[in-house]
């Protein structure tokens, strides 16, 4: 069998197929459908310091080859996560990555502090797409200084690998990536959702109560792929590709442009076994071409 293992900033994964935060619950929800231990890693729903109610419904609407969501980061909070979700996750033999988010840089730091000693938490994924409440609601990820601030603070309190998840809603994502790398990030993941909107023309109201939401799914894949390609050409740390990956062929596009691993998001909703189908498809592609190590694929785009 081909060797699929990859190293993400010190975190060893047996294969590059991870689940994207917010699309895989706390793992358990998918246990009836797949053997969770077959995954490269599980990234759980974004965690805030306190539990969050999230946005009022409707929260989702389908769009052409995509969906908008405005969940509003509803989550149980870091304490309940540690007490109620980690005991199950610890029973698995798969790295669990906690996705974290804060309203200000201090909050990121405090969540990182809380999670670092928790057995079973293998890495942190820092979601810098959230609005920075202390800086007027502009996302941390839209601005290199605030991104650096968050990453430095998180790094200062943890020895876990720190993956920084970038927002695509920026002019120059590679510039943010470089800033985040310089602040000590061990790896990057991109992209988070792209802000979008949809309108009910009969009622003349937005389909989402929150007015705007995050676009995910196949529609955004070309944008995600372009951004990953731009970023891998500018940073040395590993990059995880996310955005519209539905099958092995999409996964291969990301690996070929230079992603070391991928995250599967919206595809989980369409088929809860998507991750495993993708893994099998990846193996089939490699076997057919006698590729014995996934590194023979990563970053091999000819252009």
């Amino acid at each position: 069998m081909p060797d699929l293992s990859v190293d993400i900033g010190g975190l060893k994964l047996k294969n590059p197929i991870m689940t994207a935060s917010g699309t895989f619950g706390y793992g358990e929800e998918y246990a009836p459908f797949i053997n969770l231990n077959d995954l490269g890693a599980i990234i759980v729903k974004g965690l805030s310091l306190k539990p969050r109610m999230g946005n009022p419904p409707p929260r989702i609407i389908e769009t052409a080859s995509g969906m908008l969501n405005a969940i509003g980061l509803q989550n149980v909070g870091v304490q309940a996560f540690i007490e109620k979700k980690m005991p199950y996750l610890r029973t698995l033999e798969v790295p669990v990555i906690a996705n974290i988010l804060g309203e200000d840089p201090e909050e990121y730091q405090r969540i990182a502090e809380r999670l670092t000693p928790v057995p079973g938490v293998a890495a942190l994924e820092v979601n810098i797409s959230c609005p920075n409440v202390s800086k007027g609601g502009i996302a941390f990820g839209a601005n290199p200084e605030s991104a650096i601030d968050v990453v430095r603070r998180v790094k200062s309190v943890t020895d876990l690998p720190v993956i920084v998840k970038l927002s695509p809603n920026v002019t120059d994502i590679a510039m943010i990536a470089e800033a985040v790398e310089s602040a000590g990030a061990d790896a990057l993941s991109l992209i988070n959702t792209i802000t979008g909107m949809s309108v009910d023309i009969d009622k003349r109201i937005p389909h989402l109560k929150n007015i705007t939401g995050g676009l995910s799914g196949p529609a955004i894949k070309p944008i995600a792929l372009r951004m990953v390609w731009q970023v891998v050409n500018r940073v040395k740390i590993p990059v995880i590709g996310v955005g519209g990956i539905m099958d092995a062929s999409d996964t291969l596009e990301f690996l070929i442009v230079g992603a070391t691993a991928v995250q599967i998001g919206t595809a989980n909703f369409i088929n809860p076994q998507s991750t495993i189908h993708i893994l099998n498809g990846l193996l089939a592609y490699m076997e057919k071409r006698h590729i014995r190590d996934i590194h023979e694929l990563i970053g091999t785009l000819k252009c």
Binding site: K45, P57, N268, Q273
Partner: protein
């Protein structure tokens, strides 16, 4: 915590246009949904198609065991691209099914007069429930007995106009009593179905009653006001847009009472779709 796999495919047997914009589709399944209960739903999509992207939730309208496998029936109304795509399916087409999902209606053995209150397409899950009750599927020991069930089942069905009162034949087969209403008075009581129920409630013994309802939010809301002060147990099946159907995306939240926080969001797919009406909160 491992639940059993409820993912499979079904083959369309037929898909009949039963009224303007309304269809009844039947599917043959061989691996799943054998034990699907009234109030539960499935996530359904045409196999191999990428548009629409997401599966759509549909309540069970009928579940039958045959030699060939389990037959599922759905009654649905075409409101947008997902339901439109379903309406285009014909015999032999394959669909992907995730289900049965969600909490079913809970049967209260002590309450012998069951009232089912449906508005519009809310008729689907309640029809199946009526059939289930009429066949005593919850009480195997009474099944097949010649004596009429001790249970009385009254079905209240409301719609905007006579033509939108779909599925009434099935209901008549399985209910002791059928009461209809239309907003425009073109059939049955002229007014909302909740108003009709309100009239009738006056003459009934509330201690023997239990209520189940499914329909537009406005109807559920007025029902909740109607029975607020009454001591009648009432379960309602709620709707919200869904992506995953299994509690993972948090897309289908609705407001419920919460002892410690006052209120919180709950997932229609995993914590519902059936809720005790007393737990719901309205803006």
């Amino acid at each position: 915590m491992e639940k059993k796999l409820n993912l499979g495919s079904g083959c369309v047997i037929e898909n009949v246009n039963v009224a303007k914009d309304h269809f009844v589709m039947s599917l043959l399944l061989t691996s799943i949904c054998k034990d699907a209960l009234p109030g539960q739903f499935v996530m359904i999509r045409k196999q191999g198609v990428k548009d629409p992207l997401l599966s759509r939730p549909l309540s069970l309208y009928g579940v039958y065991q045959t030699d060939a496998g389990t037959v599922l029936e759905f009654l649905y109304r075409v409101v947008g691209k997902g339901t439109w795509a379903l309406s285009r399916l014909t015999g032999g087409d394959q669909v992907d099914i995730l289900g049965p999902l969600g909490k079913p209606f809970e049967i209260l053995p002590d309450r012998n007069h069951v009232i089912l209150l449906a508005g519009g397409i809310g008729v689907a899950p309640l029809s199946y429930f009526a059939e289930y009750l009429a066949k005593d599927l919850d009480r195997p020991e009474e099944r097949g007995e010649e004596t009429a069930s001790a249970r009385k089942v009254s079905f209240y069905l409301g719609a905007t106009t006579a033509a939108a009162l779909v599925g009434i034949e099935k209901i008549e087969r399985f209910c002791t009593e059928v009461r209809t209403s239309t907003d425009d008075g073109s059939a049955g009581f002229a007014g909302t179905v909740t108003e009709l129920l309100q009239q009738d409630l006056a003459g009934l013994d509330h201690r023997n009653l239990c209520l189940y309802s499914c329909g537009p939010a406005a109807m559920i809301r007025s029902l909740s006001q109607l029975i607020e002060s009454l001591d009648i147990p009432c379960q309602v099946s709620m709707e919200e847009r869904m992506a995953c159907g299994i509690g993972a995306c948090l897309g289908c939240s609705i407001k419920v009472r919460d002892a410690s926080l006052g209120w919180s969001y709950c997932q229609v797919c995993a914590d519902g779709p059936v809720f005790d009406i007393k737990n719901l909160l309205w803006e």
